[in-house]
């Protein structure tokens, strides 16, 4: 069983006419670090949101850890996401009125992942251990993204979906950021699917996939 099995997915926004995404086949094995690339506007984010169970494709099936997301109720999908998936946005990952610690612990309140005792280790590894009580609005962009990583990894979810989280960082920081992410993901055997249009960091991943190629098969 693959960790992610996507087959014959088609997704159209309620307001759109043509499908933004048409994907015959996509598989990810456990422990892989996938670099999913493509130019802006090709549906990368939409695809991530489908895998996260936030959007529901009109056609096809998405299985994560063997669970068919389409078979779950909306509440069931939310619950599944809380329990198994960490999500990192491009920017503005944090709730502005909560401090660093509260932001990191937030996912523990929505799912059943235990992870409180991981917090110290995570923040120490990410170098944000002394920022826990700080309001997130006082952090630099790089610090904010590391807090987002800690939040995505707390409770050791099986899958991390990352939506260009490095695009706001400079080159130096990008590599360090990815290295930290992979080290910590490796510790908890978490699979990473990372979308970006910036192919300069591609070499750090175990596999690179072009979204355009994936979609082209049917065309």
């Amino acid at each position: 069983m693959s960790l992610i099995e996507v087959s014959h997915v088609e997704f159209t926004y309620p307001s759109g006419r043509a499908p933004v995404l048409r994907l015959p086949e996509f598989r990810v094995e456990k422990g892989e670090r996938i670099f999913l690339f493509g130019p802006s506007g090709t549906g990368k984010t939409t695809f991530l949101e489908i895998m996260a169970g936030v959007l529901r494709p009109q056609k096809g099936s998405v299985r994560i850890l063997g669970q068919d997301l389409g078979a779950l109720s909306p509440a069931g999908r939310d619950r599944f996401r809380a329990d198994h998936i960490g999500y990192i946005f491009q920017s503005f990952n944090l709730i502005p009125y909560l401090n660093v610690r509260e932001n990191i612990e937030l996912p523990l309140h929505f799912g059943s992942r235990p992870g409180k005792n991981q917090l110290d280790h995570l923040v120490k590894s990410l170098g944000i251990g002394d920022l826990l009580a700080r309001p997130v609005t006082e952090l630099s962009v790089g610090q904010q993204q590391r807090v987002a990583v800690a939040r995505a990894l707390i409770g050791s979810p099986e899958l991390i979906l990352a939506d260009e989280p490095t695009s706001a960082l400079d080159m130096d920081h990008r590599e360090r950021f990815l290295k930290l992410l992979f080290d910590l993901a490796g510790e908890s055997q978490t699979t990473v699917v990372f979308v970006s249009h910036d192919r300069s960091i591609q070499k750090l991943f175990t596999r690179a996939v072009s979204l355009a190629d994936l979609q082209a098969v049917t065309a």
Binding site: D78, A82, F89, I95, P96, H109, F110
Partner: protein, 421 residues
Amino acid sequence: MIFLRLAWKSLRNRLLATSLTALSIALSVALLLSVERTRRAAEEGFMSAISRTDLIVGGRTGPLQLILYTVFNLGNATHNISWESYQDWAKNPMVEWTIPYSLGDSYKGYRVVATNGDFFTHYRFRGDRAVEFAEGVKPNGLWDVVLGAEVARRLSHRVGDDIVLSHGATKGESFQDHRDKPFKITGFLRPTGTPIDRSVYITLPGMEALHIDWQDGAAPTAAKRVAADSLKVENLKIHTITAFFLRTKSRIETLRLQREINTYKEEPLLAIIPGATLQELWHSLGYAERVLRLISALVVVVGFAAMLIALTTTLNERRREMAILRSLGAGGGRMVGLLVFESGLLTLAGIAGGTALSLGAFAALGPWLENEFGFYLVGPALTGIDLLVLTGIFLGGLLIGLVPAVRAQRQALKDGLSVRT
């Protein structure tokens, strides 16, 4: 728990917007409660302008008219009662006491009431409150006059001052003054919060003496004028009075006595039970009450509109926050719950603030209202009805919160985690 913390911190984060919204609700709640309390106090004050009096008796007229000119200083009597009829009823074995009233003159727009010592002994208002003197003594001599609290305060007289009464009770018309027969002030009454404050009291012989040389309602010519110092109390016979208040020895007798007075053979009389007539009068003024209520209800609606606007505008800024919570696995129901919970907290803060504001304002301004307007805040500060209305407002606030919350939720289902603007 996380719910409470999220809602609390999010509200605190937008302190200005939050407190303005809560303030707008607080103001409408305060206004609603204040209007309601004022209305209650007005009704209470109105209904208890006279107490302990079982019947008011006057010449044959309408019941409303009778209570208006005797208790509320409004309008005029069309018929008087002869002194003999009055004596007849005053001596009736069922009667405990009576207070005669003779009306028709005024002092600078304030009604002159000619009565006797029974008024100061027996008259009661607001339960068992008697008429008391702030200064001086009751009128005894022919030319003695006592001023009600408001008259005294407005016109700033002192005990011992001479004043000239005017003929006729209508305010603002050209009066004929009783210039040849001035009265001397012997005292001032304490404020009562009833029309007593706006009255002037003289003796029945005083009223008689004032008009002794008048004929058929016309002032005497210079030749026929009777000099004030030639009149003596002992020589004056009282011919008529305008009305009288009556207390029965036993309340059970009231209806029987009323019937007997109303069918009195000697003279057409009307006896009314003040409580019943006051009730009727208040109901006929009911539209004013309804308008007041309508206004306060509208104010609450405006408060809610302000809240809806505030919630909707902040919601746009908060879509990012909603997307983050969703990515963490917070479900649609929880998001709606969070937003509704926040508006619940806002409404609750508004209700608490508004209630405190209203209670505080009345506590602070109460004495001033009593002094300045004779307006007494009788009755409870908050009634069960008030609490019911406040509960209704709270539920209304939740409902208002539901509108933008559901909208945001629908938007999120369509757009996923990306915030499209």
